[in-house]
Structure formats: structure tokens, C-alpha cells
């Protein structure tokens, strides 16, 4: 979706504001909202792309006015409500126990998958990011749509976020590291020396 989260290339947000000696969390609620989001993620009631999409459904003005962990909290509440987990106890949810935290974190959740299909593109190929505007979750930033880049590297097949968020189907697709000249993205005012590397799945691309 063309949401407020798709920030690449926007103007008007003012300077980047680094904070000296920034703590990992700024308030007690940030700690708990972070941990609750991770712990509930382990219950298997939704996947990572669904939790990203839940955050993206926040109203644009609210998204831009609130902090990162408020986005997380909004997304968590939205998913809990959508799955009906707040009304009554559901049984059969996997629960992350304290003893399993270290193991669970160090395992993580790799998204690389085997696939029988062969990649449509090879390093050196020119590709165009498609001009599409999916209404659901997508990881194709608006700023590269319609622009031509060059495949630099194959990243293997990975879970495809669009379908993973929409239906839970991982539909693994080949993922490419694509190099775009800054001038191709932004026009003649960009330095010729600059490039942007974007990881894009095969369905986002067409031969150019």
C-alpha cells in the first residue's frame, strides 16, 4: 500500500536528530511493548509481514506523529483484535518461556526457501521496477517504481512479503539486489557518483 510508512524520497521532515548517549529504551512502556510484540510473535498467530502490515494500517497522520514503539503497540493491538485473541482465551498457542528466549532469538526466522523455479534474471541484466500500486502489503518502495536498474546479485529465493502478508502463503520468489543510479531515481540534480541498492523480489521486476 502507498502508505505514510513508504517514506523514501519525501521532503519536509526536517533534520535527522541523533540523541547523545541514547538509551536502548526511553520509558518502561517501550520495554514492555517491545517484549510483548516479540513474545506474541512466537505464538504463531501471525507472521512478520503481517505484523509489518498491521503497523502500516495506522492512520497516516497518527503514523507520522507517533514513535516507533507506538507503531508496534498499534500493530500488536490490531493483530490481537483481528485474531479475536482479546475476547477469550484461545488454546493451542505456542508460548515463549523464559528458558527458551536465548535459543529462540539465536535461531531467528530465516526467510530463505528452496524453490524449483530458475531465476528470470542474472547479474548484469537491466530490469525495471514495475509500475504497480498494490493496496496490500508490499516491499516495493514507491520511489523506484518505473525506474530501471541493474541486477547486481542473486540473493536466493525468499518468502514473498505480498502474499505472506495477504494470506500467510510464503510463495518463495527469487530476490535480487538491484543497483539504481541516483540520477535514474531522482533526476539530473543527483550526483552521477551515487547509487541506491534495493532488494527486490522477482514479481516486482520486468526486463528492461
Amino acid at each position: 500500500m502507498n502508505g505514510a510508512h513508504d517514506l523514501g524520497g519525501m521532503h519536509g521532515f526536517g533534520p535527522v536528530a541523533p540523541e547523545a548517549d541514547e538509551p536502548v529504551f526511553h520509558t518502561p512502556w517501550e520495554r514492555r511493548a517491545f517484549a510483548l510484540t516479540l513474545a506474541m510473535g512466537f505464538t504463531g498467530q501471525w507472521n512478520l509481514d503481517q505484523s509489518r502490515h498491521a503497523r502500516e494500517t495506522m492512520a497516516p497522520a497518527a503514523y507520522l506523529a507517533t514513535s516507533y514503539y507506538e507503531h508496534w503497540l498499534f500493530g500488536l493491538e490490531a493483530l490481537l483484535a483481528a485474531r479475536g485473541l482479546l475476547e477469550g482465551a484461545s488454546s493451542g498457542l505456542r508460548r515463549l518461556d523464559a528458558d527458551n528466549v536465548a535459543q529462540a532469538l539465536s535461531t531467528g526466522g530465516p526467510t530463505a526457501r528452496e524453490t524449483a523455479s530458475t531465476p528470470a534474471f542474472a547479474p548484469g541484466d537491466n530490469v525495471r521496477a514495475r509500475t504497480i500500486h498494490p493496496t496490500g502489503h508490499t516491499r516495493l518502495p514507491r520511489y523506484c517504481r518505473g525506474r530501471v536498474g541493474r541486477v547486481e546479485r542473486l540473493r536466493g529465493a525468499h518468502v514473498f512479503p505480498d502474499s505472506h502478508a495477504a494470506t500467510g502463503d510464503p510463495e518463495p520468489c527469487h530476490l535480487y539486489s538491484v543497483r539504481f543510479a541516483a540520477r535514474e531515481l531522482w533526476g539530473p540534480s543527483a550526483p552521477t557518483s551515487d547509487t541506491v541498492m534495493i532488494d527486490l523480489w522477482e514479481p516486482y521486476l520486468e526486463r528492461a
Binding site: D6, L7, G8, P18, E19, L93, R139, W186, V196, W201
Partner: protein, 195 residues
């Protein structure tokens, strides 16, 4: 739903936690353990070890640039938000910078949780369209003869910048070098100053 008052947020999260604990979905001790892990254990000192090792061990550096995940795992740093690591090297010809314009993807096992500025709109908006102005605000000047290469973490690949080793550290060992390596240098917004 969007209450900005800190007290209201504290209450809202406390109530949510109470409910989820009551339902049996979460173990409060697991929450404590998760917080402890990212507040005290995992952080940029992990990435600093990776960088220092690469600066002092050419074979390790070659493995790191060829397969980031495997080489970083040699040092014990694996897992969540670092499952697929790619390390990009800053040189006299190329300066790398990492951003996630769509959310705030960040290599947790090596850098910990991201700072607020990395997650906030100004950086996410500007790093791809005016990276040199952003870098200048961080005090980092990159010559126009250097390729400025911005990595937008749109997929589950996580990027770590291998900064240039500063001059004057030729005889330093890995432990001492690790002390010089900053989070900002591993994101690419800064260089590492000569000691």
C-alpha cells in the same frame, strides 16, 4: 488509540500485558529476559568485534565479505533480524550507507536495537534522496569522486558496513580496535576517526 501521554501509554501497555498474561499467551519472565537481552547483552559491541576481527585477519575479512551470516556466526552472533547478513566494505572508492525506508530493518545481532533517529521519518525519507546532505549533518564529508552507495533494506537481508580502518592503528590488536568502532560507522553515517 493514539494516546501520546506517557502515563496513558504506560497504563495501556500494562493493561495489555496483564490481559495477555492472564490469557496464558505470554510468560512475564520471558518478557524480562527479552528486554534484558537487548538492553544489556546484544549491541554495537558485537558488530565492533566483527569489524576489528576483519581489520586484523585478512582471511576472516574475505569470509565476511563472501558470506556475512556465516562469518558473523563464527563469533556467535546469529538469529533474529540478522538471519541473512551482508557486509559491505567502505573504501577510498565506495562509501556505503544503510537505511530502511519502509520500516526500520536493522541488523540486531550485531548492532542491537536501532536508535530513534534511524527509525524516524527524517532519516528514512532523506537517506535515499539526499544522502550527502544527511551525511554532512553527521559531520561526514564524502568526496564527489567517491561512489555513495545507499542500501535500502527492503527485504530480510541485513547490512553491516565495514568501516575503513583509521590511520595510526597499525599496531593495535583486535580488542583495542573494537573499542574504536562506533555504531554510526557500522550504519555508514560516520567514519572512524584516527585515535
Amino acid at each position: 488509540m493514539h494516546d501520546h501521554e506517557p502515563d496513558a501509554l504506560e497504563r495501556r501497555v500494562q493493561e495489555l500485558e496483564s490481559l495477555l498474561v492472564k490469557r496464558g499467551y505470554v510468560d512475564p519472565a520471558a518478557l524480562d529476559r527479552l528486554i534484558e537481552t537487548y538492553e544489556h547483552e546484544i549491541g554495537p559491541h558485537n558488530g565492533a568485534q566483527v569489524v576489528a576481527r576483519a581489520w586484523t585477519d585478512p582471511d576472516y575479512k574475505a569470509r565476511l565479505l563472501a558470506d556475512g551470516s556465516a562469518a558473523i556466526a563464527e563469533l556467535g552472533f546469529t538469529g533474529r533480524q540478522g538471519e541473512h547478513m551482508v557486509v559491505v566494505e567502505n573504501t577510498a572508492q565506495v562509501h556505503n550507507l544503510v537505511v530502511c525506508t519502509l520500516c526500520s530493518c536493522y541488523p540486531w545481532p550485531v548492532l542491537g536495537l536501532p536508535p530513534v533517529w534511524y527509525k524516524a521519518p527524517p532519516y528514512r525519507a532523506r537517506a535515499v534522496i539526499e544522502p550527502r546532505i544527511v551525511l554532512a549533518e553527521f559531520g561526514t564529508d564524502v568526496g564527489m569522486d567517491v561512489e555513495l552507495r545507499v542500501w535500502d533494506s527492503t527485504a530480510e537481508i541485513r547490512y553491516l558496513v565495514l568501516p575503513e580502518r583509521p590511520a595510526g592503528t597499525e599496531h593495535w590488536d583486535a580488542a583495542a580496535l573494537a573499542g574504536l568502532v562506533t555504531r554510526d560507522a557500522m550504519i555508514g553515517v560516520a567514519r572512524i576517526a584516527a585515535p
